[in-house]
C-alpha cells in the first residue's frame, strides 16, 4: 500500500460557514444541497466533509457526507438520503432552505480518491447513496474529458431510487468508454429490462474488467453492501490492494 506522508502539511481543518445556494430533490428520499463555503481550498474526488449542527440549547451533532461535486465545480454538492428517525438527515431534508447557512469542515481523508491522472481502467460499485463519492469521480472524469475505460455498477432499491440517473445516462451516451449498469433490488415493475437483485458474483464477473487488467476498484455504500461486494471481488481474483472501500453506515439498501 503506498503511503504518502503529508504530515508536514498538517493544518487544522477549521469549521466554517457555507451558504445553501440550491436544493434539488433527486428522489422521494434524497436531496442534493449545493453549498458555497466561505473558504474552500479544493478537494479530490472521493473525499468527504463533516457537517455540524448546533441546537439552540448548545447540543451538537456531526455527520460525514461525501462530496458529490467534482473539483471543477464552484459549489460543493452533498447528496443526502433520509434515514427514518435519524437526527441529522431529516433536518437537512426537511428544514434546510436556500439561503440558510450551515457549518462544515473538510475536505477529509485521502484513502478513497481517484483523479483522472490515474492510469488503468476504473470500476465503480455503488450501493444506494454510496453513489455520491463515485459521482464526484465520474463528474471529474467527464469534466476533464478523460477517457479512462470505466464501468459503474449501481445497486438501488427501485427505479425511483436511482439518484442522478439522467446525468449518468447522458454521460454514458456521449462516451463509449463509460458503461453504466443498474441493478434493482426491490423493483416490482415488469417493464424494467435491466438487472434485478443484489450485486453478486455473476453480475460482477460479467460487467467488471477482468482481474488480469487490474482495474482500480472503488466500492461505496452501506456496510453490508460493501462487505458482500468486496468479498465477491476478492473471490473473483481481484487484488485486494486494488479495492478501495468506503462504508456509510450500519444498514440500508
Amino acid at each position: 500500500m503506498t503511503v504518502i506522508d503529508t504530515s508536514a502539511l498538517a493544518e487544522r481543518l477549521e469549521w466554517q460557514l457555507a451558504q445553501v445556494r440550491d436544493i434539488v430533490a433527486e428522489t422521494h428520499r434524497v436531496k442534493s444541497f449545493m453549498l458555497e463555503p466561505v473558504n474552500w481550498t479544493g478537494h479530490l474526488p472521493g473525499q468527504h466533509i463533516d457537517i455540524r449542527l448546533t441546537a439552540e440549547d448548545g447540543y451538537q451533532a456531526q455527520r460525514s457526507y461525501s462530496i458529490a461535486s467534482p473539483p471543477e465545480d464552484k459549489l460543493l454538492t452533498v447528496t443526502v438520503e433520509r434515514v427514518t428517525d435519524g437526527e441529522v438527515s431529516p433536518y437537512l431534508l426537511d428544514e434546510l432552505r436556500v439561503g440558510d447557512r450551515l457549518e462544515l469542515r473538510g475536505p477529509i481523508a485521502r484513502h478513497f480518491v481517484w483523479t483522472s491522472g490515474s492510469s488503468g481502467s476504473l470500476c465503480l460499485l455503488a450501493g444506494g447513496t454510496g453513489i455520491t463519492p463515485l459521482m464526484a469521480m465520474l463528474r471529474h472524469r467527464d469534466r476533464s474529458s478523460c477517457r479512462t475505460p470505466t464501468v459503474l455498477i449501481y445497486s438501488a432499491r427501485s427505479r425511483g431510487d436511482i439518484v442522478y440517473q439522467n446525468e449518468l445516462d447522458g454521460m454514458a451516451r456521449n462516451d463509449t468508454n463509460l458503461r453504466v449498469v443498474y441493478t434493482l433490488t426491490r423493483e416490482k415493475a415488469k417493464d424494467w429490462a435491466g438487472h434485478r437483485g443484489r450485486v453478486d458474483r455473476t453480475l460482477l464477473a460479467t460487467n467488471c474488467f477482468p482481474p488480469a487488467q487490474n482495474p482500480a476498484i472503488y466500492v461505496c455504500g452501506p456496510t453490508a453492501f460493501v462487505e458482500s461486494a468486496s468479498d465477491f471481488l476478492v473471490e473473483l481474483g481481484f487484488d485486494s490492494l486494488s479495492i478501495k472501500t468506503e462504508r456509510f453506515g450500519p444498514s440500508g439498501g
Partner: protein
Amino acid sequence: MDEAHISHGFRSKRQTQAKDRVPPGQYVTADFPILSAGPTPQIKVSDWKLALQLGGSLLGVWTWEAFEALPQTTIKTDIHCVTKWSKLDTTWQGVTFDDLLKAVGLSGPPEPYVMAHCGGGYTTNIPLADLIGGKGMVATHYDGLPIAPAHGGPARLLVPHLYFWKSAKWLRRIRLMPTDERGFWESLGYHNYGDPWKEQRYDGD
C-alpha cells in the same frame, strides 16, 4: 470560527445518556462500527501467526495455540470510532501488552513507539506508553466469541482510549521502533495520535 452557528429548528433526538462517557462530537449507538479501507481479509487461525519485532530482530512469534496459552485478560470498555459512533460497555478478551512483553522477557519498554502491521497492508502507529500499564491488548474475543473477520478477527489491537482505527484489525506483526512513523490512516489525513476526548480526528486537530 469562534462561536458555533445555531441551526434553527435543529433539536437532539437522542436520550442524553452517559454524557461523561461520550467524547465531543460522538453519539452512542448499539451498532458495531466498521471502518476499513478495503475488503475484509479472511484469515484462518491455522494460518495465523503474530510476530513481535524489535528493529531487525524477532523477539517472539506465536501460533494461535501458543497465543491462546498466554495469560488472558478480559477488559470491559467503551469504544469510539472516528466516524462519530461510540459503543459503551464492550467486552474483549486477549493478551495485554504487559503480558506480551513479559512473555519475551522484557521488563520495560525497549523503544517508545509501536507500528502495528496488519492483513490488507494496513499499519497504525501508537506510543508504547499507550499500550502498557493495562491500557492495550491484542484481543482475540469479543463478547465471549472469537472476533468476526469484519471486526478484525482472528486478532486485533485494542487501545480503547484512542479512536478505534488505532485498534488495528487483522493484526500480524508488532514492530517496536525508536522514532515515530505514521501508519496508513495517519498518512491519509487522520490524526497522528487520535485522542477522542480532545477530538483529534484529523491531521492538525
